[in-house]
């Protein structure tokens, strides 16, 4: 195990969690004995292909459904199956598709206010200014509060989704493919915003993606999932210079790249496999 950080208590920890879904005819083992921990202020990337169990892990961290086996801890305290409001508030989610994650028939302002109302954050009268402040935090003008999602571009919608997650003042953000529905230019801006927010607000990220190039530029550590099993976990640098797992290498080999330096790096990584 390459547990780099010697943090006394990780902010989030999963111990040996598994999840089995019962389908009509058979069982699907979506996650199999996964243990990982996230240090405060860290960005942990979860990578793997479709069906490898990334979203299943996220859903359990968020308490959408409980694991079939194993435990989860927040700040050293075990997370119960039914979570109280403060526990829910601590872990928030940004989804992949902002078109579906924002209610098309509610204004941006109403969507942002929901979190404030549910968790009773700030005095009633000042919630309007809080909404404006939230929009400002993600680089959007305050007028957007009265607009509907359809009047926003994809990147703007994703910024709103981020603002909504921040409205709960969480400790941890789970980001499930937050930029894979966006264009490259927009993706770059949203990623930059996320990176900046993490540092400014000392947030902890669990960043789910299949795009390793993104991971390289935003994550501190990477966990690689393959069919429900965590096959590798290392700090980002190691994953990209000396991956220990054949599957990780195949993921790196599949990244479409655009510069010669990247080509060279990819080549060394792929050739290294004989060394292992």
């Amino acid at each position: 195990m390459i547990e780099k950080t010697a943090e006394p208590v990780p902010v989030l920890e999963a111990r040996n969690i598994s999840k089995t879904f019962k389908a009509a005819t058979h069982e699907v083992r979506a996650l199999d004995g996964v243990s990982l921990s996230v240090a405060r202020g860290e960005c942990l990337a979860i990578v793997g292909e479709s069906g490898s169990g990334k979203t299943t892990l996220a859903n359990m961290l968020l308490g959408i459904y409980p694991p079939s086996a194993g435990e989860m801890f927040l700040d050293g305290q075990m997370l119960p199956t039914r979570r109280s409001l403060p526990l829910r508030r601590a872990i928030q989610l940004v989804q992949q598709n902002p078109l579906s994650s924002l209610n098309p028939r509610r204004t941006i302002g109403a969507s942002l206010r929901l979190a404030l109302d549910v968790h009773d954050i700030g005095a009633r009268q000042e919630r309007k200014t809080r909404v404006a402040a939230l929009l400002d935090e993600v680089g959007l003008p305050a007028e957007f509060a009265s607009r509907y999602p359809s009047a926003l571009s994809g990147g703007q919608r994703q910024r709103v989704a981020i603002a909504r997650a921040l409205a709960c003042e969480p400790e941890i953000l789970v980001l499930d493919e937050p930029t894979s529905a966006l264009d490259v230019l927009v993706q770059a801006r949203v990623l930059r915003l996320l990176d900046e927010l993490r540092h400014r607000k000392a947030l902890t990220y669990v960043f789910i993606t299949h795009d390793l190039a993104v991971v390289r530029n935003i994550a501190d550590r990477v966990a690689v999932f393959e069919r429900g099993i965590m096959v590798e976990m290392a700090d980002t640098e190691t994953i990209f210079t000396n991956p220990g797992n054949a599957y990780t290498r195949s993921l790196i080999g599949a990244i479409p790249i655009i510069t010669d330096e990247e080509e060279a790096l990819r080549k060394t990584v792929l050739e290294n496999k004989s060394a292992h």
């Binding site: 264009d183 230019l185 770059a188 930059r192 080999g253 479409p256 510069t259």
Partner: protein, 292 residues
């Protein structure tokens, strides 16, 4: 190069809507040589798919579409063809592959029936047996291990990657002169996508098929195409050979596009300015401007 398989000259497109005419393409010129693989890249809504649909003669059927400009395919003026003639071109001399392979295949019929339909467009008298044999050899070309089994299956019984290979095999079944691939396989996993793209590239090179490859993924384009057109808001802003364009992007928009792609060598996330005026700078053509 002197006799392109496809050429677009000053192609314009607008849509009539309740708010008035919305212009989508502002005069696109583009040329694909025989056996050439040309990519069209640009962000969402820049007009890539509508260009493809005009070439395929699909948008011409839409009442609200206003199209002008010249489109020549294999020497013939597409606009002069009748609806039926255009229809006869599709799936025979010109074919296409779409983003999501699984939903592009018909769920109600097994693969072999759909294959037969495609093959019969070329040869009306094709028998079941001949069709099967052709299909098997075509599926072998795309490295499908058990073609007989796959032919009996339905699309939903196959994986996304398998369906994508079937789509490629079908698109190339009638040996088209031009293949249009609109974001092929973006719905697939990265590794599967990489595999099928390599396979498709090898196959079109072997058969000498010309390709118009549409994508917003610069990395994929770099690995696939001989020449690249960059489109921004309905205008071509830069075009040239892949190596030249990637080695030395010159238009501000292309530069921003390239800078925005995260690198596996690291270096952090670049600061990309909001859509700037410079993105509308005049077009840069590497082929005429590259100094000797």
């Amino acid at each position: 190069m002197s006799d392109p398989i496809l050429s677009l000259l000053d192609l314009k497109l607008g849509f009539k809507t309740y708010e008035g005419l919305v212009e989508v393409l502002h005069g696109i010129s583009l040329r694909i040589g025989r056996g050439e693989k040309v990519a069209l890249v640009g962000e969402s809504g820049s007009g890539k798919s509508v260009t493809a649909r005009i070439i395929l003669g699909l948008l011409q059927e839409l009442k609200s579409a206003r199209i002008s400009g010249a489109i020549h395919f294999d020497g013939a003026d597409l606009e002069k063809l009748s609806r039926r003639e255009r229809q006869a071109l599709r799936g025979t001399r010109m074919s296409m592959i779409f983003q999501d392979p699984t939903s592009s295949l018909n769920p109600v019929f097994p693969i072999h029936v759909q294959f037969h339909e495609v093959l019969r467009r070329m040869d009306r008298n094709l028998t079941q047996r001949q069709g099967m044999q052709r299909a098997i050899s075509l599926l072998t070309d795309v490295s499908i291990p058990e073609p007989e089994r796959v032919l009996q299956a339905y699309a939903f019984q196959l994986s996304g990657g398998m369906n994508q290979r079937v789509m490629i095999a079908m698109a190339l079944a009638n040996e088209p002169s031009l293949l249009i691939a609109d974001e092929p396989g973006t719905a697939l996993d990265v590794t599967v996508q990489a595999q099928t793209l390599h396979l498709m590239r090898d196959l079109v090179v072997r058969k000498g098929t010309s390709v118009l490859f549409i994508s917003h993924n610069l990395g994929v384009v770099r690995e696939f195409a001989d020449r690249v057109y960059v489109i921004y808001k309905g205008r071509i802003v830069e075009h040239g050979p892949t190596d030249a364009l990637f080695g030395q992007p010159r238009h501000p928009y292309t530069k921003a596009l390239m800078a925005a792609v995260p690198r596996i060598t690291g270096g952090g996330i670049p600061d990309i300015p909001e859509n700037s005026e410079a993105f509308l700078d005049p077009m840069i053509d590497h082929e005429v401007e590259v100094p000797a």
